[in-house]
Subunit: 443 residues, 2 copies
């Protein structure tokens, strides 16, 4: 089980049942409860193994972990989406493993290495991110945690770069790491550039900072020896589909990459996947070796202790969740799941384009549609039409959310909920139109 | 349900069944699976509520959350210990709530305020830690996370103090927050002082730092306007028993307090309870208000958004776990559970004291016993007897752990596992003695 054979997983393209079908959840849920109850009934029969070799541990995974989940390898097992994460959570929590270091529960560490390498392979990330290639993956809680580490350096001159569309997680990490807010450069993005990070603006900003004696530290461009991190929290999942892979083509030079499996990859919170080419940089910031965690294996420096790559010392058996997803769905079904959401987003986009009161604000690449209402009378009035449009959109959002029938955030219409079907998208569009009608008739 | 009536909880002292009794777990587990399956079967019947008032939300908790767990309020519900956390985890994960801010899932925030106030009351913490008293509690992942925030200040001169016995979580937080390792003062503790933080040594160290132009920043003593944090990760739980409460008597002047419910309070990872008298200090470091999370309630500043008191933006419904524990066991059973572990530790201590080859190294206050083997021949040899004793203890530990029958860490013998009974302690002691016999006969 040490390497992922994509062609084998492709074969597992059994029928897809509704992933949250209550009866199927009920059936499988009961099997799981019995599985965990049996585990506790027999718990004293298991010896407490002092870890020996990787081989022994892998045998233990084979012997104690895998049989427990084979019930779910049936065709219907490919059914449940969030409940797959949920099922993994039950298994992980039910066995209640704490994996500071490898020794505290070796299979937790081993399984994490395996699934992170599998997922790296599915994403076609460079081999330099592979454990064997001196890189490696680690499961974090969320992006906020995943990017909160830094090599020791003079904080006063360390500069961090992102676009003005960068997730606030970066700003938060900067604050907590003690880097002054004014050292964070949010490069202005434009609609004409699809709200992307503009290389020219970035280069100009960095040049100005270097001339001012500041030290580019975190985000982009090999030229300046900056740590480049790619945050693909949401969209990263789609990159397991060949037709979407090109979106991360340019990041071959990056130092680290994150994808949040709890966002669009069928696990529940928390499950943020971080890969780094050189994990020793993480370890410089995050490693501590207290006396009570010392052991022969750690002292030998031949084993991986995940506590050194993450903020929290205690950590649960998150790999179980991801492992269950990869194993039970297989590449083909995972791709189809993601594609079905993108297809629904395309449908919504079409509906929008057919109503000239609405505008698609940013290009839709995956299953997120950014739109706004922009009725002609406002658009045509020269004075403060932007402010008036913003005000109108705010009212529309409050009106829709206030109805209790559809709920959206202020920035996007996201196709992400596992239970979503086309009929829900069509219904939501009708609700949006009705509220727009009512609002515009009042104005 | 806004205040905890201890005398009412005391009444719920039903019989205690083995907390991990497999058959009882099986029975309750099946009920839970049906409960969650029913929830998904009826999910479309629920309206999506736009949050209105605290009152409405509390009614929703009453209507949608509480009925779901009443099945487990039967006498046998007092049975499961780690599975109580496990059950809370199932409920929390099964409903899959993400609670960035109050609006994203109001009951998650409301329930967290309630349980944190309840637990504060059980611990008899000052009212200044209460939400109504402008203080407040927040559930974090682990201690490492809970203490990782700092007000913006000049990092180069900020000094952090702890004893040399302080958990490495503090050192890790200092590293990540960008405070230089040399700014962390580990005050030397001594056996004669029971390895506690010595006030005189602390005062002398702080005085010297102040004279050198450095700024005392984090740990102890009101005199210097330092932020005082009390980390009661493990022992804090026991302080709900009146006979142990005096251990935290001295901390009335502290600014913040943590207790890890996942350590000794019947929940699984992660569930670290943090209270602060002035949470605005946390918010200065941890708050970000991205556009996509803006809403009327947040803008009004009348509601609590937990994302501002914690590193990660996304957060699961952890309050469910703690709530289930407090509700299902009640104060009396919780105290008895903790006392039973302390009683077992006392037994182990007695066994140790009856064997003159062993020494209890630090006073046993709760259910942890720190001991070492110190056979007379080594003790009496004047030259390097400490090193030889350490070497012997290391060998003993490796020998015991290598047997696969008992597993201990290098610092303590901890009575904490929920399934533990006296017979397990007695058996472990026999294993320790056997390995000591074998080791000493070889030397």
């Amino acid at each position: 089980m040490s390497s992922l054979k994509s062609h084998e997983l492709e074969k597992n393209s059994h029928m897809m049942v509704n992933p949250l079908d209550p009866e199927e959840f009920r059936r499988q849920g009961h099997i799981m409860i019995d599985f965990i109850a049996d585990y506790y009934q027999n718990i004293e029969k298991f010896a407490l193994y002092y870890p020996e070799s990787i081989e022994t541990i892998l045998q233990d995974i084979q012997k104690y972990i895998i049989p427990g989940i084979t019930h779910w390898q049936s065709p219907n097992y490919f059914a449940f989406f969030p409940s797959s994460g949920f099922r993994g959570e039950i298994l992980s929590t039910g066995h209640n493993v704490v994996g500071f270091n490898r020794m505290s529960s070796p299979p937790a560490t081993e399984l994490e290495c395996i699934v992170m390498d599998w997922l790296r392979e599915m994403l076609m990330l460079r081999k330099s991110f592979l454990f064997k290639g001196n890189g490696g993956g680690v499961l974090q809680g969320t992006t906020c945690e995943a990017i909160l580490w830094s090599e020791k350096m003079e904080k006063l001159v360390a500069m961090v770069y992102g676009s003005d569309q960068t997730h606030c997680a970066l700003q938060k990490a900067v604050q907590i790491a003690g880097i002054h807010t004014k050292n964070f450069r949010a490069i202005k993005s434009t609609k004409s550039n699809s709200f992307g990070l503009c290389p020219n603006s970035l280069r100009a900003t960095i040049h100005a900072d270097v001339e001012a004696g500041l030290v580019p530290f975190f985000l982009l461009a090999e030229d300046f020896n900056i740590w480049v991190h790619v945050d693909a929290a949401y969209a990263g999942s789609a990159c397991i589909c060949p037709e979407f892979r090109h979106f991360i083509d340019g990041f071959e030079g990056a130092n680290s990459f994150t994808l949040n499996a709890h966002k669009w990859f069928l696990t529940t919170l928390d499950c943020c996947c971080l890969w780094a080419k050189d994990p020793s940089a993480l370890m410089k910031s995050l490693s501590t070796i207290p006396e009570f965690l010392r052991n022969k294996a750690t002292d030998s420096k031949l084993v991986l202790d995940y506590k050194d790559r993450k903020i929290s010392l205690s950590r649960s058996f998150r790999a179980m969740k991801l492992w269950l997803v990869l194993r039970s769905y297989g590449v083909a079904n995972l791709r189809n799941f993601l594609r079905s959401h993108v297809k629904m987003a395309k449908l919504f986009e079409e509906l929008l384009r057919n109503d000239n009161r609405f505008e698609v604000v940013a290009p839709r690449n995956f299953a997120l549609v950014c739109f706004r209402i922009l009725p002609w009378p406002i658009y045509n009035s020269v004075a403060n039409h932007v402010e008036r449009a913003n005000e109108l959109n705010k009212k529309l959002l409050e009106s829709i959310n206030g109805s209790g029938n559809v709920y959206m955030s202020s920035t996007v219409f996201a196709i992400g909920a596992t239970l979503r079907e086309e009929r829900h998208v069509i219904r939501a569009w009708k609700v949006i139109q009705e509220h727009a009608d009512a609002l515009l008739s009042k104005n």
